[in-house]
Amino acid sequence: MKRMRAFIQKEFYHIFRDRRSLLILLGMPVVLVTLFGFAITNEIQNADLVVLDPSKDEMSTEITRRLVASGYFDLYKEAQNIKEVEKSFIFSKTKLAIIYPDQQAKDFQKEGYAQIQLLADATEPNTATTLINYASSIIKDYQMEVNGLQGRPPLIQPEIRMLYNPQLKSVFMFVPGVMTVILMLVSAMMTSIAITREKELGTMEILLVSPLSPAIIVVGKVIPYIALAFFNTLVILLLGTYVFGMPIEGSLVLLLAECVLFVLTSLALGILISTRTNSQQVAMMISLIALMLPTVLLSGFIFPIESMPWPLQWLSNIIPAKWFIIIIKNIMLKGTGVDFVWKETLILVGMTFFFIAASVRNFKIRLE
């Protein structure tokens, strides 16, 4: 026990004396969460809108007013002819143009039917689709009101409610994702580096030629990073809830317990990597390429797993991050208890044991 304590103390000395690494370890979560939360977002606000409205009747002005009032669009320019519309697409950041017919209101009253043209800049397909959707629904709303006033009942009116994230905030997507990535990064990369550093500096040679058992070396390496990763978890959760308004509907204790579990999984993975490599650089490359990329790409963090081809869907099952993201989304957004995430939890527990067993098997009690 004394040996373990001395080892952990030594490990903390390493962590706290390497100021630069410590700063990266503690600063990275804050920077990443803020970056992802603010900058990388699917929501579009204040897109430039160009209007070509020759008639300026009550209907067209009302629609334009509603578009601008929605906050999604800024009225960039009122064009006089179609040429000007085209120009503004080419020479400015115009994303959407709306073109009304000459006598829209009259047509509508006479024939009960009018056409509006929406032009979108599809060089960014996602943005274009999203803006068209925004505009269409605003126009539809207006149409429904007009119809209602005239007493004509709508045919089929879908009523939509977005559950658990009613405002479709992308932050709700990113905070769990970023949390997963950061915990993975801190845990796996840092432990794998911490152990390979001893190999590189030759201190592993001395540790091996001492009565320290592999278990003490491995556990002694892991414990300080559990503490560090737990601290990071708290920072991310605080940022998520207080800066981005991310809810924690479920039990906080359960959430933290699941975070510790995932940290353990990642740490075990880091140790497994370090048992197979001899240099810090290789360990870092493996952590980055073999862990970070799948974690970002295949965990459902950015791309929905359901829309992947089946080999990738299948592959995503062995990514611990996938299960962790499911768990924390359930707890934070849906407020479910352990009875709904026990399956995913068990998978993570199983993975952790597998990694630890593989690490101990692979831990070399000799050099080379």
Binding site: A6, K10, R17, G202, I206, V209, I365, L367
Partner: protein
């Protein structure tokens, strides 16, 4: 097993994955309480042999034991009872002198105070710097700290891999004095070094080259065995001199030693004709004198 043998190596061979042969059928016995030198050039297999003895690597064939513990089977026993100092400085550079020492003491289940008497003579020299980070120490002080750490658990056997490499001459001399004191306290010490002049500090030495032990004897014996005539020669063209001497028929070997070239011949050579030979080759200000062999001459002789 013989009571007086501390380290026994029996027909140990080792080949690395890239097919370099590190050790070939090495036999060696180090007596208990002996200061034993393992001497040979870089790449001779010194480090490999020491690592096999500390159970850090496995031999391909043969057996080795330290204090009757087999290096494969009883590796745990060996690891808690030997002191090992690797060739490269391998302490924690970001820990202070005191923290390093305390860490290794705890690792071996002891304390600095319990074994202070053993390391006292060494540690007092670095104690003024005990708050300093190990990485900031000078080469000589690093060696003293590493030795203190290797000694902190009162090992029966001390295995030192090139402890004096990269250390200044004064520190080297001090270091050997410390080793002698430790030997007097009953610790068996196996130390490897590429410096042949250090052989005279040991009680017995083994000369190792290309994975083979060439000779095991006391330094005096090795000098006694030397059966060649030796001349120290110096001229104005030292570089050319070696080549010219090696071309001669009678020459056994010619190696530079400091300011002189030592010429070894099987039979006594006539100095006047040698002078004439060198003058013909264009050498001037020729000095030469017969000398007694030192340990380095003997090694050079054994190695070729």
């Amino acid at each position: 097993m013989n009571d007086s043998i501390a380290i026994k190596v029996d027909a140990v061979s080792k080949q690395y994955n890239d097919h370099t042969v590190a050790l070939q059928e090495v036999d060696l016995e180090v007596r208990r309480g002996e200061l034993f030198g393992l001497i040979g050039p870089d790449g001779a297999g010194k480090t490999t042999l020491i690592r096999i003895l500390c159970s850090l690597i496995l031999a391909d064939s043969g057996r080795a034991s330290v204090e009757d513990w087999d290096v494969v089977k009883d590796y745990r026993k060996i690891r808690s009872n030997i002191g090992y100092m690797p060739g490269r400085f391998s302490l924690y550079q970001d820990l202070s002198v005191e923290e390093n020492l305390r860490f290794f003491a705890t690792t071996f289940g002891t304390t600095i105070r319990a074994n202070y008497d053993l390391i006292k003579d060494i540690y007092v020299q670095i104690e003024p710097f005990k708050k300093r980070k190990a990485g900031k120490l000078s080469g000589g002080m690093k060696q003293k700290l590493a030795l203190s750490c290797a000694l902190i658990h009162k090992p029966k056997v001390l295995l030192l891999d090139e402890p004096t490499t990269g250390v200044d001459a004064v520190s080297r001399k001090e270091f050997w004095e410390m080793l002698k004191q430790l030997r007097d306290k009953g610790i068996t010490i196996l130390v490897s070094t590429p410096y042949m002049d250090e052989a005279s500090m040991c009680e017995r030495v083994a000369l190792i080259q290309e994975g083979r032990i060439m000779d095991v004897a006391s330094p005096e014996e090795i000098i006694r065995k030397f059966d060649k005539e030796l001349l120290a020669i110096r001229t104005n063209k030292m570089y050319q001199l070696i080549g010219d001497l090696r071309q001669m028929e009678q020459t056994h070997s010619a190696f530079p030693f400091g300011d002189f070239v030592h010429l070894a011949t099987r039979e006594k050579i006539d100095e006047t004709s040698l002078r004439q030979y060198l003058r013909d080759k264009g050498h001037t200000s020729i000095q030469m004198k017969p000398i007694e062999p030192n340990i380095e001459d003997c090694f050079m002789d054994l190695m070729i």
